[in-house]
């Protein structure tokens, strides 16, 4: 797979889920940064200016909502698209995320991976594919 040189920051406190997403994205040729909580996530975003941030909602120290708000308030990170990871299909969480500036939300289920890849294609972080599910 050709390198795209695009970078995705995964902010997720579950090591297993972070590892699964990291593996998936690296397979697609993306560079991946990982942060275990919102506080470190905001710092890494300011330092590396990733192309997309994938942000879990429930995390220690700083949750996804607060992290999203801080990222949108900072001029260096305000324009970075944020995709939030929601538990199953929690519409209330998604609405709050949208109001804070997130552009998309991925339900945490068995199909998170393909949904995330589809979103990254739409954002042109990954090249378009004809094999969309």
């Amino acid at each position: 797979m050709a390198k795209t040189h695009k970078t995705v920051l995964i902010v997720e406190d579950s090591p297993a889920q972070a590892l699964a997403l990291e593996h998936l994205l690296k397979e697609e040729g993306l560079q991946v940064l990982c942060a275990p909580d919102g506080q470190i996530g905001v710092l890494l975003a300011q330092q590396h200016a990733p192309d997309v941030i994938v942000l879990d909602v429930e995390m220690p120290k700083m949750d996804g909502f607060e992290a999203c708000q801080r990222l949108k308030e900072n001029a260096h990170t305000a324009d970075i698209p944020i995709v939030m990871l929601t538990v199953r299909d929690d519409a209330a969480t998604a609405i709050r995320g949208i109001n804070l500036g997130a552009i998309d939300f991925i339900p945490k289920d068995a199909f998170s991976g393909p949904v995330l890849l589809e979103t990254l294609r739409q954002l042109h972080v990954l090249p378009e594919s004809d094999n969309v599910v």
Binding site: F111, V115, Q122, V133
Partner: protein, 127 residues
Amino acid sequence: MNESQTIAVRTEFDVFTARMQVRKLAQAIGFDITDQARIALATSSLARALRLGETHQGHVNVDCLGEEGRTGMRVVCTAVNGAGSDLASRTFTDTRWLVDNLTVEELPPNDLQVTVVKWVARGESQV
């Protein structure tokens, strides 16, 4: 554009398929990415609320709408075989915030049908 699709929902994977089909159509007719996410999430939230692919079986129908110079889409989630009495009291409050219109209808013999409509916002590209 005059596309209509029906996805039978018997498993969790079918919910995922319906979500992705809704999203593809939403993208095709000109919804921005956030509205695509809203209508896709509304679809899977409804499917989960109706327990499609779990307790109940049913189907999701997706089609495009066009009237008075505006474009939109309609998603109809139907749970069959006893779902009506089981689920009719649900209000789907959260899902209502994601779409422009939501209606709930009990169908004989004992099915429940939830229809959502969302229009492309003025200023977004209308196809």
